[in-house]
Each structure stands twice: as structure tokens, then as C-alpha cells.
């Protein structure tokens, strides 16, 4: 499993590395890398090769909200049924069961705050079993997936040193 984790770590950092490049870095053969990745994909360990975009710097408006949801657990299903229901919406980017005051943490993306507010009022809140929602809009991102969003957090070294 160690080699698989090494490959996953590399892909998390840069999903554009080719199998050949991964082979060079890990010392595995290209064939081994290919097979390991295939098996990880088959087992749904490796789900998707993604990117991280700072939408703020583009023309597209993207608003994100983190919504805390309280749910009445259902006999035999717990929170699963409601969680699955919420997952169906395209606007919903992530759904997690959390400990503490709330039950589900839902990340929603939209073009405007109003759009998200309407989504919560008209789609999310009325779902049977949802007791309450608390919406937090993301105002600014500082860091995500280990990457700093702000300038100046980058390389502070002199460009050439002995």
C-alpha cells in the first residue's frame, strides 16, 4: 500500500504528472504505476484528477457558502437519506456528516448570494427531515487544499544565492 500512497501523494500535489514522471520519482516501473493507478481507480480510491482555481481572478462570478444543517435522524437511515437527497443538487459541491451542534455541513456554489439564498430557502430547507439551516458565505479564501491564495506567500528567497 505504501507505493500506492506515494503515488496518491504525488497526484494530490500535481495531477498532471504523467505515469512516466511518477515512475521516475518513485523508482517504480511505468507499468507498475499504470497498474497501481488503474487499481486505485477501480477501487474508487482515486476518484478524479482535479485542479484548484482562484475564481476571484477570473471574469466568472463564483460565490461559495458553507451551510450548517440540522437534521432529524430517521429510523433505520440515520442521516443518510437526507444527506443523499441533498447530494442530488448540482449546486451542492460537498456534503459531510459532522460532529457538534449541527449534523451536516453542505458546501454550495452559485453565481450570486441571492441565488444561494433562494436555493437554501426553496430547495434545501423544505427537504423532509431538515430542521434548520445556517448559511455562511465565504468572503475570502486564504488557503485551500494546502495552497495559499494570497500573493507574497510564495517564494521569498533571493533568486540566486551561493
Amino acid at each position: 500500500m505504501d507505493k500506492a500512497i506515494e503515488i496518491l501523494d504525488l497526484l494530490c500535489e500535481n495531477s498532471r504528472l504523467t505515469e512516466k514522471q511518477i515512475a521516475t520519482i518513485t523508482g517504480l516501473s511505468e507499468e507498475e504505476v499504470k497498474n497501481t493507478m488503474k487499481s486505485l481507480e477501480d477501487k474508487k480510491v482515486l476518484l478524479k484528477y482535479t485542479t484548484l482555481v482562484d475564481w476571484e481572478k477570473t471574469d466568472r462570478e463564483v460565490i461559495t457558502a458553507l451551510i450548517d444543517v440540522r437534521v432529524a435522524p430517521q429510523q433505520g437511515h440515520g442521516f443518510n437519506k437526507v444527506a443523499h437527497r441533498i447530494c442530488q443538487y448540482e449546486e451542492v459541491k460537498s456534503v459531510s456528516l459532522i460532529s457538534g451542534t449541527y449534523d451536516l455541513s453542505v458546501e454550495v456554489e452559485g453565481k450570486t448570494m441571492k441565488e444561494i439564498a433562494l436555493f437554501v430557502a426553496e430547495r434545501l430547507a423544505p427537504i423532509e427531515g431538515v430542521l434548520s439551516t445556517t448559511t455562511h458565505f465565504v468572503l475570502k479564501r486564504y488557503k485551500k487544499d494546502g495552497v495559499f491564495y494570497e500573493e507574497g506567500q510564495n517564494d521569498k528567497r533571493l533568486v540566486v544565492t551561493p
Binding site: E13, N14, T24, I25, T26, L158, V160, P162
Partner: protein, 388 residues
């Protein structure tokens, strides 16, 4: 005012650093990817930074003993024992310095009389020869060769020894070549060192960045502890370059002599850095290992990248540099680097900045993310397609 006539002859005799020249060139360029840096890209591990902050918070703002905080010397003694199986008495055989740089200067000043010869392997770090000259010693270069994996061979060594030879500087793992010297290779030169009654200043600042095996200190070989001024520090292993903290381990008599200079010229290393370093030794072993593993991945990646482009590239086993040959381009190192910078906006350092035998090579640092290395390699490939 004509300041020039007041400057001492010895200072005037020292040539300006080749890196400095290139630095000025690079600073005036925009959008460059630099693979020219000689320091880690990691920030100092948080535990160490926090201890620095706490030390200030506690009001620890005083001088320390000239030799350094006793607790830090105990920690260093522990580190040398556990990592390299070296035994040094923290009370008498260890002193803390302002980086390994001060340590090099102290060692040379404590040992050299006018005209004493110091063997300096090259290519190597830019400071050795100027520090020898400033001490009125004479640097005698020992060229190393790619054919011999850039190590010092017994023949190299013997051919440069004269009755005036007093000290050998041993800079392994090496900046800029990334070469290391294995135990057998060290053993081969030890006999000569003892036979000719030489001392060794062993600059082991990159010791923790040794891949495919552990670093062996020459001081751990029979008969060598007493002849070795061991220099190391926190800059590379703990990613603490800006804290300026190094140390020397040596016979008590040598430490005393060096401490004499140290107490008059610098008093002590900064206390904040000293406290932080103690934390580093006891609590950041995992960080060191993690950083080393990361460098190792990049090392394989970049060596392979250069070879695929078509450059001959020696396989380095230490530090965080590769030293590919650019001889087949027909250009000098300087020409190559200037052209690469101008046409593809990638900064690497000409090999001759580290001594004449570095001509025909370039030093490329891999203290950068894989992503950055990848982008730089794409540009270098583009460049090579035109010139190879």
C-alpha cells in the same frame, strides 16, 4: 573620496563572487523561473518557529555564553551521537556559531599562519578560498572530476601536498556538484591525511540531505576525530538559513582557540535562534525526514528530466543540486546561463562560479516544487532543441 586607496591589499586581491555577478543579471529580469537558489524552499518547521516566538515572549533577549547555550550544546552532542555516531563533550568540544559561515572563518583563522597552504577541492562553495586568503593563508585548489564522481582521490590529494600544507577542506555532501564521499572513499584519503599530519575542516552542512544511504563523517573514522574540525549547522537540515545558526565540534584545544576569536568578534550566536534550535533537534526529526524524502523525489525527477532533454548529468547523492554538463553545446557556462536566462527566462548558476573546473557545467537547484521544476524543464527543453 577615493576610497580605493584605503582598502587593504588583501581585500582588493579577492575576486568578486561569480554568483554575485549573475545575481545582478537575474534581478533585472522579469517573469523568470529561478533554479538558482542555495537554500531550502521549506519554511522552518512550526515547532521551531514557535519556540523562537516563545523565547522572545519569555524575554530571552540576552547574550549567551560564548560557546552557546549549554542546553543547545547538549542537544548538538546528542544529535551528532544519534545521527553520525560521533562522541563530543558538550562542555568542551562543541561551540555554536553564526551559521557554518562563521565556523569556516573561525577554523581558518585559528589554524593558519601566514603562507600556510590550505587544500580546497573545487568546484566547491564560494567562500573557502576567499576566507583562506583573508587569513593570509594560501588556497591550493584540488580539482575534482566528473569521471571520479567529483570526489577527492588519494592521487589528487597527494599531488597537491607540499611541506606548507596544513589543512584540507572537505566539503561533502558538496555544493555545487551534489557529490558525497562514501566511507571507503574517505578511508582512502585518511592515511594520507595522517601521514602528512594534516588537519581537516569538514563542512558537513548538507549531511542530512544524503540520499540512498547515511552520511558518514570523516571524524568517525579511526584517528580522525582529533584531526577534524567538524562544521555543521541548522540551515539546510532544519530549513533555518535566515536564523544564522551553525556549530563546530572539535578537540578542546581547537575549540578554545576558535572561541578566543569568536568572543572578541561576535560574542555569541543569537539567543532566539539557539532556543529554537534545541526544539528542532528534539522534536523535528520527522520534519527532517519528510524534507529529505521530498528532495529525493525531486532529485530523481530533475536528473531524469535533464538526461531526457539530452544533457549528460552526474547522479548526485547529496545536497539539493544537480550539476549537468553543458559541454556538448560548445558554450561556456557563463554564455549558456546568460542565454538561457535571456531566451527562456530560467535562472541557473554557471559552474565556473564554484571554481575553474566547474567550467562546462551548470548548477541547478532542486529546492523547488515539482511543479516549478517541471515548468523550468519545459523551458530548458525548448532552449536545448535550438542549441543542441
Amino acid at each position: 573620496m577615493n576610497t580605493d586607496k584605503y582598502i587593504s591589499n588583501v581585500v582588493k586581491s579577492i575576486p568578486p563572487s561569480g554568483i554575485r555577478k549573475f545575481f545582478d543579471l537575474v534581478t533585472n529580469s522579469k517573469d523568470i523561473i529561478s533554479l538558482g537558489v542555495g537554500e531550502p524552499d521549506f519554511v522552518t518547521p512550526w515547532e521551531i518557529r514557535k519556540e523562537g516566538i516563545d523565547a522572545l515572549d519569555r524575554g530571552s533577549t540576552t547574550y549567551t555564553s560564548n560557546l552557546g547555550l549549554p542546553e543547545l550544546r547538549i542537544a548538538i552532542s546528542y544529535f551528532l551521537k544519534t545521527h553520525y555516531n560521533l562522541t563530543y563533550d558538550p562542555e568542551k568540544e562543541i561551540m555554536v556559531t553564526i551559521g557554518a559561515s562563521e565556523a569556516i572563518d573561525l577554523a581558518l583563522r585559528a589554524l593558519l599562519n601566514d603562507g600556510d597552504e590550505v587544500l580546497v577541492p573545487e568546484p566547491s562553495y564560494v567562500s573557502y578560498a576567499p576566507c583562506v586568503t583573508l587569513t593570509r593563508g594560501i588556497p591550493v585548489f584540488v580539482p575534482t572530476d566528473e569521471k571520479n564522481n567529483f570526489i577527492i582521490t588519494p592521487d589528487d590529494l597527494k599531488s597537491k601536498i607540499t611541506p606548507k600544507t596544513k589543512v584540507l577542506i572537505l566539503p561533502y555532501p558538496n555544493n555545487p556538484t551534489g557529490a558525497i564521499m562514501k566511507k571507503e572513499e574517505l578511508e582512502e584519503i585518511v592515511n594520507i591525511i595522517i601521514e602528512y599530519d594534516l588537519l581537516v575542516i569538514s563542512d558537513e552542512i548538507y549531511s542530512e540531505l544524503t540520499y540512498e544511504g547515511r552520511h558518514i563523517s570523516i571524524a568517525s573514522l579511526p584517528g580522525m576525530k582529533e584531526r577534524t574540525i567538524l562544521i555543521n549547522g541548522f540551515s539546510k537540515a532544519f530549513a533555518m538559513t535566515g536564523w544564522r545558526l551553525g556549530y563546530i565540534a572539535a578537540e578542546h584545544g581547537f575549540i578554545e582557540a576558535m572561541n578566543k576569536i569568536h568572543q572578541y568578534t561576535t560574542i555569541c550566536a543569537p539567543i532566539t535562534a539557539q532556543y529554537a534550535a534545541i526544539k528542532g533537534i528534539y522534536q523535528c526529526e520527522e520534519d527532517i525526514v519528510k524534507m529529505r524524502e521530498t528532495y529525493d523525489k525531486r532529485r530523481k525527477f530533475i536528473v531524469n528530466g535533464f538526461r531526457e532533454i539530452g544533457f549528460d548529468c552526474f547522479e548526485p547523492k547529496g545536497a539539493f543540486y544537480i550539476f549537468p554538463s553543458i559541454k556538448k553545446t560548445g558554450m561556456t557556462s557563463q554564455e549558456f546561463c546568460e542565454k538561457l536566462l535571456k531566451e527562456e527566462k530560467v535562472a541557473v548558476v554557471p559552474g565556473d562560479a564554484f571554481g575553474p573546473s566547474g567550467e562546462g557545467f551548470i548548477r541547478v537547484s532542486y529546492a523547488y516544487s515539482i511543479d516549478k521544476i517541471k515548468r523550468a524543464l519545459e523551458r530548458i527543453k525548448h532552449f536545448a532543441e535550438r542549441i543542441l
